[in-house]
């Protein structure tokens, strides 16, 4: 049986992080982009918890993760509200088309 070590967690978290970034830069839909951000945050969460567990660093990591989860929710709420507003004004949520402000 494979022993699940820190490396595995880190591996997963890096993949999640990269996927998050990938999603952010490739998806057209603003909501999908926001989901990418959530992925990134969760990648960090995995890190925190994994480090806390394997490093015997106490509870700080877990606490951090909890905070991040809460913040992620708040951020998602705000972001979705903004996307909603964008949909009202631009009639689209395609981030490519929202480029009126530029040089």
């Amino acid at each position: 049986m494979i022993h699940i070590g820190l490396g595995h967690f880190l591996f997963i978290s890096s993949i999640l992080f990269s996927l998050g970034i990938f999603g952010i830069v490739t998806r057209k839909n603003a909501v999908m982009v926001l989901m990418g951000i959530e992925l990134m945050l969760n990648a960090s969460n995995i890190n925190f918890i994994a480090f806390a567990k394997y490093g015997n660093f106490g509870l700080q990591g877990q606490i951090m993760a909890l905070f991040v989860i809460v913040l992620a929710a708040a951020e998602a709420a705000i972001a979705l509200a903004i996307v909603l507003n964008i949909y009202k004004t631009f009639s689209t949520v395609n981030v490519d088309e929202i480029d009126k402000l530029k040089d």
Partner: protein
């Protein structure tokens, strides 16, 4: 950890508490007063005044709050923090005033409660950014500022510009803070602590894999760099500054940046320091070459800001780029990695607050009347509005850094720091940059005074209160340019960071 200690710690965060209280009061008043929202800004003023008293008190203090067994302390109370808080509060005063006068904000009168609440949310976040000494609190405060500002940037929901700005801001900010968080997690993983002081002692004690460290450091810097809009993390700045309401842009450009710099200085100085020598130079642990990093960053930041600003037709957007350029100058102070550099930053910020807020104030007053921020629409304004024209001229000249305005003093001290550190080449680059910056600032002056209005002269009177605030902003720019002992004294007394 006993309860007494906790209560004692609360004494140390009086400004934050005052801000929180005001925030709550604003929400309550908004609910109670109903349609009478005119009172809200005055409540805000009141809260700010109380806060400023507490901040003044903090100039003499130096202690850590909320220490636990596992944590040396979450919040630092020291003169350094107090100074930046003062800058934030000062900016808040002006921004609240701007908000009262802004037509943009007036348009969505019914949501004023949210507006001021969110501003105070931002202030609270900034305060914690400034005084945080724990990565968790750093992240949380950063997010608090960000989340509030996302909403504020898109405050007037009906405006396309505002909506777009807030969307870009939220995505960009989300990603940046995500990256930063990842960096924090790695740093936590390597050191096993989130407290900056502990991390510092751990780093000094042991050798830690180099590349990982660099990775963590740089990733964390992404978050800070995004706040202070340092290149190459600045891309949001022009778009958001242009799109957001002017009062918010002003707030972002001064307060948010101040908080970001405070965070940056504290983070670097506490986490990576090994010792400070008698000359005031910081000797950092040599895991990351921060010096080269900051040199590199400051050069590209100021160059990019200045050169891109050359092309702008929108004054707000131009000021956005100009604020990027100024971030570059400020980073010079970081690159020196010395107390002197820090003092230079503090001096610069004091002056920057006046001149930048002033410039935005003028832009707002004019935008209120002519509904445009286009530089070409400023033609001949100096004749129809000599007061505003001259004020804007003073601010812009100061931003360029010409004597006898205070902007010169700010630059002078930066260059003094650079020359003292024998970084002549960097100083030359910075000076040439300031020559380039003349191009775009002078273009505004040219339109103001050298060209005749195309669309006919528009007459309006500057009200007494506006005039008063304008003088309040403009006079120091001149006075500090001629007699700058006070700000240097201020800077000197503000450079003290807890722990050193």
């Amino acid at each position: 950890m006993n309860i007494d200690y906790l209560i004692n710690s609360l004494y140390l965060i009086k400004p934050e508490i005052a801000i929180s209280a005001t925030l709550v009061l604003l929400v309550l008043m908004d609910l109670i007063m109903g349609n009478n929202k005119k009172l809200l800004p005055y409540i805000a003023f009141g809260g700010l005044i109380v806060t400023s008293f507490f901040i003044v008190e903090q100039f003499g203090m130096s202690s850590l709050a909320f220490a636990t067994k596992a944590n040396k302390g979450m919040v630092v109370t020291d003169p350094f923090g107090a100074f930046f808080k003062a800058i934030v509060v000062f900016a808040s005063f002006i921004v609240v005033y701007l908000s009262i006068k802004s037509d943009e904000i007036k348009a969505s009168f019914e949501r004023h409660g949210e507006y001021y609440t969110l501003i105070f949310g931002m202030i609270l976040g900034m305060f914690f950014m400034i005084s945080a000494s724990d990565l968790i609190l750093i992240y949380l405060s950063l997010e608090l500022v960000s989340l509030s500002s996302y909403v504020l940037a898109g405050f007037t929901k009906t405006s396309k510009r505002n909506s777009e700005a807030s969307l870009k801001y939220v995505i960009y900010g989300g990603v940046s803070s995500g990256i930063m968080l990842f960096g924090i997690s790695i740093l936590y993983g390597i050191t096993g602590s989130t407290n900056l002081y502990e991390i510092n002692s751990l780093i000094q004690a042991s050798s830690i894999p180099n590349l990982t460290f660099v990775l963590a450091g740089v990733l964390i810097f992404v978050g800070i760099g995004y706040k202070i809009s340092a290149a190459p993390f600045h891309f949001w700045t022009p778009d958001v500054y242009e799109g957001a309401p002017i009062s918010i842009t002003a707030f972002l450009s001064v307060a948010s940046k101040a908080a970001g710099f405070a965070l940056l200085i504290r983070f670097i100085k506490i986490t990576f320091i090994r010792s400070v020598d008698s000359e005031g130079y910081w000797h950092l642990v040599d895991m990351i070459d921060w010096k080269t990093f900051f040199i590199f960053l400051s050069i590209i930041t100021m160059t990019l800001g200045n050169f891109a600003a050359l092309w702008q037709d929108n004054l707000k957007r131009m000021l956005a780029y100009s604020s990027i350029a100024h971030a570059g100058y400020l980073l010079l102070g970081m690159a020196v990695l010395s107390n002197q550099g820090m003092i230079a930053i503090i001096i610069y910020f004091t002056i920057y607050a006046f001149m930048n807020l002033g410039a935005f104030f003028v832009v707002m007053l004019i935008a209120n009347k002519i509904g445009s921020e286009d530089i070409d629409d400023y033609k001949g304004l100096g004749y129809s509005q000599p007061f505003l024209g001259v004020s804007l001229a003073i601010f812009l000249v100061s931003l360029t850094g010409l004597p006898p305005t205070a902007g010169f003093v700010g630059k002078l001290y930066l260059f003094i720091a650079l020359v003292d550190a024998k970084m002549i080449t960097l100083a030359v680059i910075a000076l040439l940059n300031s020559v380039v910056s003349l191009y775009y600032y002078i273009r505004v002056l040219k339109n103001l005074f050298l060209t005749r209005p195309e669309k006919g002269i528009f007459e309006f009177n500057v009200s007494f209160s506006n005039g008063f605030v304008m003088v309040l902003l403009a006079a120091p720019v001149i006075i500090f340019g001629i007699y700058f002992t006070p700000i240097i004294d201020l800077a000197k007394s503000s450079m003290q960071i807890l722990g050193f």
